[in-house]
């Protein structure tokens, strides 16, 4: 069964809370130090994006257990301006422009998979997962 926990992102310190939650979950699942650091950094980036560009949003963290494989799933969602061109934000170099979606290619590389659903003017939902090896 999936166990879910979440953090609302409203102030900058909520980014820290999201990191903490991610760290606890990753540790409990048995991820090693390096992967814990990767997962936490990824959460930190997503939460920071929310805080900087959408103002408010939330981070939901779920433990995954599929066919005996365990992993962590993180959903970052907001009702901000949305990303106009999702393909573009996944290109390296985009982060240098600043703005919404900055740093996403880096986040993707830290994790096993990433999925972005975004509608201009309605918000963005980014889902990332990492499996325990």
């Amino acid at each position: 069964m999936a166990k879910q926990t979440s953090v609302e992102i409203v102030t900058e310190w909520d980014i820290v809370a999201a990191r903490q939650l991610g760290r606890n979950e990753a540790k409990a699942l048995g991820f090693g130090t390096v992967d814990q650091a990767r997962i936490t950094t990824a959460i930190s980036e997503l939460a920071r994006n929310i805080y900087l560009y959408a103002r408010v949003g939330r981070i939901d963290i779920e433990r995954l257990d599929e066919d005996g494989k365990q992993g962590i799933l993180i959903v970052a969602s907001d009702k901000g301006a949305g990303i106009e061109d999702v393909r573009k934000v996944l290109e390296d170099g985009y982060s240098t422009s600043g703005g919404l979606g900055a740093g996403l290619p880096g986040v993707k590389r830290l994790m096993d998979s990433m999925d972005i659903v975004s509608k201009s003017g309605e918000g963005t939902t980014i889902t990332i997962t990492k499996w325990l090896r």
């Binding site: 090693g32 130090t33 390096v34 650091a37 990767r38 936490t40 950094t41 390296d92 170099g93 982060s95 740093g103 290619p105 880096g106 986040v107 590389r109 830290l110």
Partner: protein, 331 residues
């Protein structure tokens, strides 16, 4: 990863036992292997931490947190590093594409210098970057020899794409090739209709008609050509009024003409030849004319090559624009 851990453990213990260059060199080779395998910086720190844990089990306690901290820091560092690597790779891919584009352009826009009993022609056209924003097209007909020298305002790939349109426009007007005003006004309409508003083309079109022994020419906002009169041993500007191609659909152009005598020359250039980097106090066209004057007795092709060499040197091998010169010499 386990194999790397074992290997690193050995290299580090060897070094702790004996701090010599041999062990450091082995370490250096190990790093090469890490880079080749694309091992992230945080993993390298982790390798080190684990090796230290095994080698100094008693002393690791206080240090473990310090290493963990470094791992956290390195995750972010690694993110930036990987993005950088990926951008470098992307740049290399773009360069390859540019080279292909330049080759396609070369093949597509190839033009042969006409051979004629009345005039001898030479040309040099060298791009500043990979693709050329200047373009020369010759038309050889039994009634005339035509030459179009163009410069697309706005360089690089968009300019190159534009050129093929100019070429095919010119090719379809063989029958009007001896009337510059007609050539320019038709091309103007083609460019105006087909090209983005931000792109303009300047063109000098000239043709030598043996039967009249005259050189007819017209210009669409192009740098004036030079006329060298052998008998007077003097240079003149071949000015012609006309607006750049692609601005006003109904633009009209004027035909001008000069009679050519033996050893007279018409020298058509783009502004890459006459615009100097140095200040305003230099008579740029004067410098170009005097360089041509130095070698006026040579064949047109040699004159073009000399001019390019000299100007390249004058600009300290750092020309700032595409460079094109065509010399037409009356035999």
């Amino acid at each position: 990863m386990e194999e790397l851990e074992r290997e690193y453990h050995k290299i580090l213990s060897d070094y702790i036992k004996d701090q010599n260059e041999r062990n450091l060199y082995i370490g250096q080779n190990f790093v090469r292997q890490l880079i080749r395998r694309n091992v992230a910086p945080e993993d390298v720190v982790s390798l080190h931490k684990e090796a230290v844990e095994e080698i100094f089990p008693e002393e690791i306690e206080g240090l473990r947190t310090a290493y963990d901290f470094l791992i956290e820091m390195m995750v972010h560092y690694g993110m930036a590093l990987r993005e950088h690597q990926s951008l470098i790779q992307k740049q290399a891919e773009l360069q390859i594409e540019m080279n292909i584009a330049a080759n396609v352009q070369k093949t597509m826009l190839q033009t042969t210098i006409p051979t004629s009993e009345q005039v001898e022609i030479g040309m040099v056209s060298t791009p500043l970057k990979t693709v050329n924003g200047d373009y020369v097209h010759f038309i050889e007909d039994d009634r005339y020899v035509g030459v179009a020298v163009t410069d697309v305002v706005g360089k690089g790939v968009p300019a190159a794409l534009c050129m093929s349109m100019v070429k095919y426009g010119l090719e379809t007007m063989r029958d009007s090739g001896h009337t510059p005003s007609r050539v320019l006004s038709v091309l103007n309409r083609i460019v105006e209709q087909n090209v983005d508003d931000s792109m303009f083309i300047s063109m000098f079109y000239g043709c030598y008609v043996p039967r009249a022994n005259k050189f007819y020419y017209g210009s669409a906002g192009h740098e004036p050509a030079f006329l060298y009169r052998a008998q007077e041993d003097k240079f003149y500007d071949l000015e012609a009024n006309g607006i750049l191609l692609g601005i006003i659909p109904t633009a009209e152009y004027i035909d001008n003409e000069v009679v050519l005598h033996k050893d007279d020359m018409v020298i058509v250039v783009t502004d890459g030849v006459t615009e100097f980097r140095q200040g305003d106090d230099i008579d740029e066209r004067g410098v170009v004319a005097s360089l041509i004057n130095d070698v006026k007795h040579l064949a047109p092709q040699q004159i073009c090559e000399y001019l390019y060499r000299e100007l390249e040197e004058l600009h300290e091998f750092n020309l700032r624009d595409d460079f094109t010169v065509v010399v037409i010499k009356k035999r």
